[in-house]
Assembly symmetry: D3
Homo-oligomer: 246 residues x 6
């Protein structure tokens, strides 16, 4: 645990406007994990939504080949995305869609790009948290202040796991994660509800009590992250999340 | 709920030896969902396991194009497996690996094939349950009776969800699933431990209480399935699961 | 020849309505070969037929990986269909199109799916025969009884071959097929005309006399199959094939 | 029929050594159809033949995009070979293998490349005939004169078909082919035996009598082609085909 | 240098109308290098040009597998075009576009196909020169004589390089090219201006003086090629290049 | 020109050790262009170099989708790298190989990854310059100080172009580049020799005088960049480049 308490997050920092071109962007750093998150808005929707007045959001995720301790082969060169990549980008997309009011967005598509510059565990949960900031920044550029804001609640994610000795740990780094018996990713909203709970016991199965302890630990970490998100957005912006106008 | 109680499984039937060629096979029917599950054993392992004395298991999953209410495009014709397919086959593989003793298997690979003949909700959980039977049948053909059996525990899976009105439902059919606000897939062992918990609230976030009620409901359904698995394997075979020899 | 005469078909059984979702479906079993055949009807046609008032039919074919004595790699995982698969699905499509009146069908596309559940020789010819039943069942659901029926004649297919000793054999199983010096697939209509004759002498070339004997043997087998097709469709349906209305 | 008799071949010309690099090559022209055929010999065999002392032969086929009346999209740009291409290259490979003594070849692979420079019907049968010449030229460069020659017999191919009026036609050009009711490709050896008979009645089914007439017509055309092959190879080379040495 | 002077081109020959189907075609032979060049004209443009009144030109390039001293794997079989192929076809396209007046062409696309029948160095520069002839022939078939001709100037290309001893050489054959320390491809117009200069010193870097000498040598070779192009087009056609009408 | 002189570089900054995992890494910023460059060293070589005692270097390049003013589709999702991407990574690889002593490297492969975080013109030349720093840092970690250093000279790259008015400009930003009539990328060594000269006149052809002026301008810019590279490496490291030991 690198000297930190088992229920402590690694140091977190979100740098807004990391890139100039996308409507919203943020670089999130959690421990040594760094993910560039961007939100691009396009004025069209997939076929199945045309004419409905409703928008859409989808996410893409990739590791820079040089982001991992052993170089990861470039997916563009291999000609296809791995199952892991597709699973992660589906998770990010589902999570963000759960706090979107697509009628308020109108017939537009938000594309979320999460590119991992450095990986040290927890890249998918960092991607959810960082993308939420990029999303709010992007929506702020297109939704007038007197309109309902399409992001209906805050959203953050964290990983938790059981150490080989059975101790619940918050926000695992790569080394902790690779030794963990059980691994869980949790996504929650600002109002404390769950959006995704994905627990896996490939090392060994886990008991109901262990599952409950992990969920409680995750909820605490997400509280901290959401408080930080409000700091990052600041007074000028945080009030818009969930705001509804006639 | 087609007239059944919210905590009742749909009718389940497992037909052993559905196919002649694979080492083990089973056709599982749950309601109108039907999945052909096969376990093939190859005398080689992936590169990273050569010389370790340990084996491996991986799973593949597909829908017959004609298995769904609207025809599903054939992935072989499109040239790639969808993200959904990859996510499901990763889930099946992880779940079965959690009850495998790979040292007892030795340097062999088990390939699980799950082909959905008819889809009416719950195909991935049916695939886990049916594949477990195919796996045990296959292992029985190669592991002498005086050796440790590589399947260390029973395994079954079920889906649960919240109806639009917030009622917890067990074993959702397609129509129930497509209306559900929250959807959860749970995989458990015969000793009552969790292997996978995957809850998703794309319709709306869910509370801790809702989450706990779903988990309890799932555990009950899995108890029933594991009892049925023992029936299906019968006295001649069920004792081998988890049996350890000097 | 498994104890049967050289000019005898293996036991044949066709089970109608094997699947719930497609417009028509049938499971055909010939010896140990089992093929699920489905006919789906879509209300659109390929680009080159738009506005012509005419429809189309195409076929797809696959082996379940577990259908063969040695497991066959899944084509969706390999990312492309083999040459063998493409050749077979082109054969099935051409054969069925030869008995279709596409003006009577109107601007619709029939998609035939043939998925081999178990392979023991003759899968492509079984697929033609089984698909014909699925096709008639599907057409019956959309074509009113007072209209010309788009299937203009019965259709069935069989394989024949020369044993290593030069004896003509009907309906070869896998083992017979793999030893055969010459292999021939024949597709014929209910009126006794040929639609496809594909004879190959990779083992050795064959004489005109051998060719003629194989063709005669095939014609006999197809007669039997077409009589059985009429049984399967029954009085309620068999009269529609080839029926023309004002 | 461009003024020629229904049983006359179009003008045929084979130009040996069309390319400098492959072991054997030939340009075949039949009417306006022109196909560059090359035979390359590699000192290795596919996995399944290693250590058997036996060789292999496989064929590849492509149309130049500019070879057809409407430009054909380049398969390398589309990223895959069409079903038609794969079917044709399988036919060419099977046909040539039927006259190969692979023990006499030894552990080598012959790769046949057929590239159509100009297409006017009959490209696949021209490819078989032209490739046979390229094959013999290539084998002559590596097999000493006192050894058994791996090409055991002459080989040629031709297309035949039924005109809309039911007249049997030999060696159809593109326009004739596209109007034909029935189309048949026939491959035969120098000793008058059949290697491939592929008859298709997509326009309409055909009778046994029609089938027999087409086969007889094809056999006559192939006689002429094989006589021409002997001329092309000349006295210095034609005796090697089928020659067996102690 | 095969007995020719270091500043001499290899023998050049361009055969017009090599193929019947494309609007324009030419076979160019330079030494042993032979490239079939074709220009096809389609009555549509890419999305970004629709409604602009302007046309487009793109080029495709491939080696016949049998064109090289060691057989080159077929890109259609491998499923993708190599980086080298893409680089070359981009070069050909850019070069030809530099002498096109796309307003004079109107909303049409010219597709250039360059297929190398035999490779002995300089295939990409031969492809540019041969394609220019095919392009002029194709444009002549669709542009009335009283209209501005879309080809605004002559165009040709040549390779130059430094021998291992540092001597500048014109028009390198394969063997010279593979030994060259520095390799440069130059494309120029009939008015003596540069369109592409691509110099590469993978063997060793090169000085400014060496660079200047190579450029001068290339310009001389291109002068000769453009004079030959005028001969090939002849009086009936060469005046159209660059001709502007009211 | 954003207020700078036509012969002035945009502000340049190279940040060493941008990533933790690769053997060497650097973030290069030139104006608003930012490229993460990494050098990974693997203890194996491609097939054609095994047993030769010599190493290899290859490069990969990608744009983050969010790096460009209009979002660029992710190549991993599209399933293949564009021609532009392949052209650029071939250029980077060739350039760096020109200053490598592969015998001094031994049988190892250097993989260069260039990932563009933000694009504002000149990404390929920035990638060459930044990768050179990453390469030297990586080599320094594996080559003992008493051995010949495999990087034989400094290397940098810059783009130049002609403004629409014909003025030569150094180091074009995206807007300048998209208006330029002529575009040239130049790679040079520390000793002032050329490695790559790639000039393209798609807008209009260019004269010899224009070409010469661009080359002179590029040489000046590269002088400045190489001086900066020495600063970045510092006294502790810059002496190793080109150092030869017994």
């Amino acid at each position: 645990m690198n000297g930190r308490a088992p229920d402590a997050l690694r140091p977190v920092r979100i740098r807004k406007h990391f890139q100039r071109h996308p409507a919203g962007s943020a670089l999130i750093e959690i421990g040594h994990t760094r993910v560039a998150c961007a939100a691009t808005i396009e004025d069209r929707v997939p076929q199945f939504l045309r004419g409905t007045g409703r928008g859409w959001l989808r996410a893409e995720y990739a590791l820079l080949p040089s982001a991992t301790s052993t170089r990861t082969a470039r997916e563009a060169a291999r000609g296809r995305q791995s199952g892991r990549t597709q699973e992660i980008q589906r998770l990010i997309g589902r999570s963000l869609r759960s706090v979107m009011d697509f009628a308020a967005l109108g017939e537009r598509t938000v594309i979320i790009d999460c590119d991992v510059l450095e990986a040290d565990g927890g890249t998918r949960t960092a991607a959810v948290t960082g993308s939420f900031i990029a999303l709010v920044l992007a929506l702020d550029t297109i939704i007038p202040r007197d309109k309902t804001f399409p992001a209906t609640d805050f959203l953050a994610a964290v990983s938790v796991g059981l150490s080989p000795e059975g101790e619940p740990l918050l926000d695992l780094c790569y080394e902790e994660d690779s030794q963990a018996a059980v691994d869980m990713n949790v996504v929650m909203t600002g109002s404390g509800a769950f959006v995704e709970v994905q627990g896996t016991g490939e090392g060994r199965p886990f008991t109901r009590a262990e599952h409950d302890a992990l969920l409680t630990l995750a909820a605490g970490g997400i509280d901290t992250l959401i408080a930080y998100e409000k700091d990052v957005l600041g007074n000028a912006l945080d009030w818009r999340v969930g705001s509804i106008k006639g």
